[in-house]
Amino acid sequence: MYYDHILIRYGELSLKGKNRKVFYNKLHENIRYQLVNFPEIKIKATRDRMTILLNGVNPNLLMPILTRVFGIQSMSLAIKVEKDENLIKEAALFALKDAENVKTFKVTTKRADKTFPIDSQAFNQIVGGHLLRETEGITVDVHHPDLEVHIDIRTDATYITSKRIEGSKGLPVGTSGKTLLLLSGGFDSPVAGYLAMRRGVKLEMVHFYSPPYTSEAAKEKVLDLTKELVSYGGDIKVHIVPFTAMQQKIHREIPYGYSMTVMRRMMLKISEEIAKKQNILSLTTGESLGQVASQTMESMHAINAVTNYPVMRPLITMDKSEIMKIAEDIGTYSISIRPFDDCCTVFVPNAPKTKPKKDKVEYFESLLDLNNEWAELMQNITVLTISNDQSHQEEIDQLF
């Protein structure tokens, strides 16, 4: 006897009334995408939960992947058996023995199929008694058990589950539209992207790079970060914007102290333009209030003025330590920490204005002609699609 299913409980999406079907179809699609390397498995979605039939795949390989999929409340490994008392007992015993560090347990039976001849209470006692007889040093505790063995008697079959593994919660990516994330390579923007995805938003990325001031490794870093986020939300398109010429011109012609503000405004404007072309309805940044000069209230006011697109700032009220904690949890920290400058850090003046005046910025900008640079830049944007293309990865792995 062994675990042959994974049982997935929906998160908030079960609350969504009529749209429910949209939500669980999306979740189904997202799970299928992340488990593309396991063609043996079968996914079955019903209105209250989803089951994955393992067909011999080791569930421990799937769990780390599934815990990154948004829209899952929790999961359990499950054994499916016929509605037969002895088989159920055997499965329950396996579930109990398979769990580690268990001193106390309780059995909870749910009898959806009322044709099953024994009622829940009585059946709890029958199975509980069996488990006590067959194990040593383990006792029943109905109030605070280390492990709860669930027996779910349904019309089609019976599922026995024990340990509950928390899912990522949130909404399935793709159910809340799309946003364009300004991704720098630092710690913040990937976390912002992650949080946006958790609310069901699909991401595209825009990255500004300034060769030769920023290295190739900096770009590679951005692609690696994207790859990490792909494991949460599926394929991600990255728009890579060559920013050198514009940045140089701003640096040359805008008074010291204001160049950073103008640069940020241009980034936002370019992002809006890309979003328009891609039918994306919002922008997202990793800004956090007061963290650096461009993220003061005055700066944001002056910078935000160039667009009337909604700019989502999931980190705006977070402390740096909280952001770093999430970065570590989601696996982007070790990539972000690689020491390469991005285009934002290269051209920063020693003392950027922390309280830029919007009027002044607009005045300086009105004297600056960036039309050539704008046209040139728009023509030279490269777009890459990052996906979890494991077949390619395997080919690479074999070389090592």
Binding site: E216, E220, F400
Partner: protein
């Protein structure tokens, strides 16, 4: 063919060659290019950093790929000396280092660096008292090999590292070209700041190697250029070579993990057989690296023995191949205090995990026969 010259170089593994060819054929992009070929090449590079760092127990930003052991040693020694000369100009090394260390140090004397060469005891091992005495306020670098290439003596790396622990500006470089894959060394616990590895000594290819450099340390580059490898080692990365190196490291390290005693068995058998030949003096101490055995045939010219073995398709070396162009005397054996007739007639057998006990027996028989024949001529 019996190949007992694995400390000179090793035969590249088939899977290593396969990787080299596959990368050269399919991933020939420049890792700095913007297009997909470049990105793929970069992916390989990134994985190479990760995997080699994992094997060494360090982080991926601490690896610099080089063209081999000689470059790694030069980059470590000159890189530290030139970058930190304001902290001192005194370097400590040993009398028995590889020429790429000895001559790099020697060259620095022209820029007014002072070098202390530590002597070794009769087993070829540095004495810690000598080392402590040599340490000065202005010592910026200590360069000591892990395993000696001629006799296989293992140096007290951990102990030296411990003595340098609290000295921020005395850097510790270890030439691990002969040690990696044969004798484990914990870089972090031994307090090592820089460590050299060469690909062709571990069934990889010539022209591949790496230098580990601890996170915060800056090196004055040997090559300036396009800023590759964190600006420390410019030059388009040799991705195929780098991947092949990392693969060879993996195979050899796995071999060491799964058969930790294999080399020792062969070496001990060889030692036992050689001790049965009265003409032989064994130079290597009992407790040393498992893959190198140095012995002398006082009264016999070593090249004559070498060529006589070669006629029987057995390949060994007289002392180290790298320094073989000099006259017969072994600097290492002389430093160990061996008499002239011993250090003038030294031969070295060095093993790889591919060697077998049967080969040792064949070697033994051949050598006995050669000594008998040669004695007749000379007698």
């Amino acid at each position: 063919m019996i190949y007992f010259d694995n400390s000179a170089t090793t035969k590249p593994l088939e899977e290593v060659l396969d990787s080299f060819v596959a990368v050269s054929e399919n991933y020939y992009g420049n890792a700095s290019s913007q297009h997909q070929l470049g990105i793929d090449a970069n992916k390989l590079l990134r994985k190479a950093y990760q995997q080699s760092a994992n094997m060494l127990g360090v982080s991926e930003t601490e690896i610099i790929f080089t063209s081999g052991g000689t470059e790694a040693n030069n980059l470590a020694i000159k890189g530290i000396a030139l970058n930190y000369h304001k902290h001192g100009k005194h370097i400590i090394t040993t009398a028995i280092e590889h020429p790429s260390v000895l001559n790099a140090c020697k060259a620095l004397t022209r820029l007014d660096y002072e070098i202390t060469y530590l002597p070794v005891d009769e087993h070829g091992i540095v004495r810690l008292e000598d080392f402590k005495e040599a340490l000065r306020e202005d010592t910026i670098l200590v360069s000591v090999m892990h395993v000696n290439n001629e006799v296989g003596a293992v140096q007290p790396i951990k102990e030296i590292g411990a003595l340098l622990k609290d000295r921020k500006y005395t850097f510790f470089h270890v030439d691990d070209v002969q040690g990696f894959g044969k004798m484990s060394l914990d870089i972090r616990k031994s307090n090592i700041d820089l460590l050299s590895i060469s690909g062709h000594k571990l069934h990889g290819l010539k022209g591949t190697g790496l230098l580990y450099v601890k996170e915060w340390i800056e090196l004055f580059p040997l090559f300036h250029g396009g800023g590759q490898q964190g600006d420390v080692r410019s030059g388009t990365e040799n991705i195929a070579g780098i991947v092949s190196l990392v693969k060879a490291m993996r195979v050899v390290q796995e071999e060491q993990m799964h058969h930790p005693e294999a080399l020792t068995h062969i070496r001990d058998l060889m030692r036992d057989r050689l001790s049965k030949i009265t003409e032989v003096t064994i130079n290597s101490a009992e407790k040393q690296a498992p893959h190198i055995l140095s012995f002398s045939l006082p009264g016999f010219k070593p090249e004559v023995v070498l060529h006589a073995l070669e006629e029987r398709n057995i390949y060994i070396s007289t002392k180290a191949a790298c320094s073989s162009k000099k006259p017969d005397q072994s600097v290492v054996l002389a430093a160990m205090g061996c008499p002239d007739n011993v250090s003038n007639s030294a031969l070295r057998v060095s093993f790889s995990y591919q060697n077998t006990e049967g080969e040792v027996e064949l070697f033994y028989r051949a050598l006995k026969k050669i000594i008998k024949d040669l004695s007749k001529v000379m007698g």
